[in-house]
Point group: C2
Chain length 334, copies 2
DNA sequence: TTGTATGCGTTATCAA
DNA sequence: TTGATAACGCATACAA
């Protein structure tokens, strides 16, 4: 159905390799022939076949970004930063949304093994269910950068993580000065098993901060069967205010969740920020244009994206992969 | 680098077609051979090459969704609805974000001509710069469904549009009853030329509604060089309150814009909804969890996605394309 | 039940 | 400057 170089060859009386060279502006094709072919290709509506090119060339000029939730503008912002670097280097970017579902996450990572793109930046929730696939990507020399995934020594992958400690220190210090004492932490949607893992990972990270918390009682995560992050936040907010009225500071992993918590606070008769201060880990339009006062960390998605792209670029340049890269970006307090 | 059926053939002592058939669970391959091959494929980490399959089969089992702005959860919601139908039919979905940029929009639509997917659902802003490409997609029998694009008789494409009149009528009637009189309309980011076109299209659509407006003075659109929709809304809000203090109702095309307008209202000392009522055309968590009262239409994205997918499915089923499809979905008032 | 041969659309090598 | 031929990975018609 689609026009191929063979069709153009037939129509022009030239051989198909000549057509191919003309279309690729090969130096050893006469100007006259080139113009003939170009005109013909334009008239016939020729577009080179993606599959044909990829099969022959061995590369796609496409990078994939795999995100957990496109409804969260945080990930959209990452995509946009990443695309800027990619475009500068001649790559197109396609996005996969795994909707916070483990099966979809695995499925998309598996797809990356089929050669449908040249490299991947992925917000991997955990290596629990993806380790095999991630290791295979490494063996196949398909660059994968895992973003924000807790380190895992058994798995070969490049990673970019954000260090929020300093920013948290400052922000919590400020809140402490304003009289806040009791912190609750609200994480995203995840399985019980992963939540246990995250707790283990976060507790030492959060030690010695100006605000105190009891990780067993005041860590919350959204149920896996939720429908939207705002809704998740609302439910958790209701739970917090019911179970633990002393909480005066709530930090959410996703800025969107803060909207739900705000609603829960309103219903519980709590004022923001007088009774409860809200902080989000991320800083997008969601936090900047919230109609209630809230603090936010800046995860420096621009830097994260830049690091991620740089790693992929380096991996594509040099196929002698030795040690995994681990880059750290420092979050800022806004 | 990657393992192919040839490698498995060599390792198993079988011929490569046998391997191919075994992997595809072909009925005429002995169970013993199959199990051998499967075990070997698993051990060697075989994954079928995307390009190889596509080149041979002529299809990808992939559908593309092209959206103007992933930072707007409205489009993310569409993607999710669309993916549900696609997954039920064995299709994977990839997303392209053209960031409200004409050149990227054209680029992605052009890419669809290379056979990188089996069908496309796209929020096409205008056929001004895409007509040639869209017509070529039609000729090449690559299904494209344009969503929310004003009709254009010169171009061959299938379309799904939303009819908001009835819902608007009800919502404006209600606002009128509450004493609102002067409406301003805020559209998305677009060129002057496209804005003129949109005005022309919208004015008859909006005729005889309970609220009055002067389309020349009270239609606004965001500048093309904006950075986020919330920011766009803020700027326009400031402009409205400065230029036309009588405005008591503002309808935004994108719910996100309302957040910016809310901030502008706050700064102008206007209360919501007492002094200015806000309405959004779309209904996502953005409107549902706004910390200020706002009305919203429901564009029935689930229905829109269903129609879009149904059209693509039908087009793939029957390659005898006659007349373009035009489907209408009725918006609802929430 | 399995092997041989072919072609999908492209680019690259080599020969003319 | 151009043409003949091969190769990328896969699926399938046909032969055994």
């Amino acid at each position: 159905m689609a026009v191929t170089i063979l069709d153009i060859a037939k129509a022009s009386g030239k051989s198909f390799p000549t057509v191919s060279r003309a279309l690729n502006d090969h130096p050893k094709i006469s100007v006259k022939t080139k113009q003939e072919i170009w005109a013909l290709a334009g008239k016939m509506g020729y577009r080179p076949s993606f599959a044909g090119k990829v099969l022959k060339n061995g590369f796609t000029r496409i990078l994939s970004v795999i995100v957990p939730d496109l409804a969260d503008p945080f990930y959209a912002e990452f995509v946009r930063c990443f695309k800027a670097d990619a475009a500068d280097n001649g790559y197109d970017v396609v996005v996969y949304d795994y909707e916070m579902k483990r099966d979809l996450e695995s499925r998309y990572l598996e797809m990356m093994l089929t050669g449908c793109c040249d490299g991947v930046a992925a917000f991997v929730t955990s290596f629990e269910h993806t380790a095999v696939c991630v290791n295979r990507l490494w063996e196949a020399r398909i660059p994968l950068v895992a973003i924000g995934t807790p380190d895992h020594s058994q798995v070969h992958y490049d990673g970019v993580n954000v260090d929020s400690r300093e920013a948290l220190n400052r922000i919590f210090g400020e809140l402490h000065r304003r009289g806040k004492r009791n912190l609750a932490f609200v994480f995203g949607r995840m399985s019980e098993a992963l939540f246990a893992q995250v707790k283990e990972y976060m507790i030492p990270t959060l030690k010695d901060l100006p605000l105190q918390f009891d990780a067993e009682r005041n860590f919350y995560c959204a149920a896996e069967n939720g429908t939207s992050q705002a809704e998740d936040g609302y439910r958790i907010g209701c739970e917090i205010f019911a179970r633990n009225p002393a909480i005066d500071t709530i930090m959410t992993w996703h800025g969107v969740q803060a909207y739900g918590i705000q609603r829960a606070a309103q219903e519980a008769g709590k004022r923001i920020p007088e009774d409860v201060a809200l902080i989000a880990r991320d800083n997008t339009w969601v936090t900047r244009y919230a109609a209630f006062p809230m603090a936010a960390l800046d995860q420096r998605l621009d830097q994260v994206a830049k690091e991620a792209f740089a790693i992929i670029k380096e991996r594509l340049r040099n196929k002698e992969w030795q040690e995994p890269f681990r880059r750290i970006v420092k979050a800022e307090h806004v």
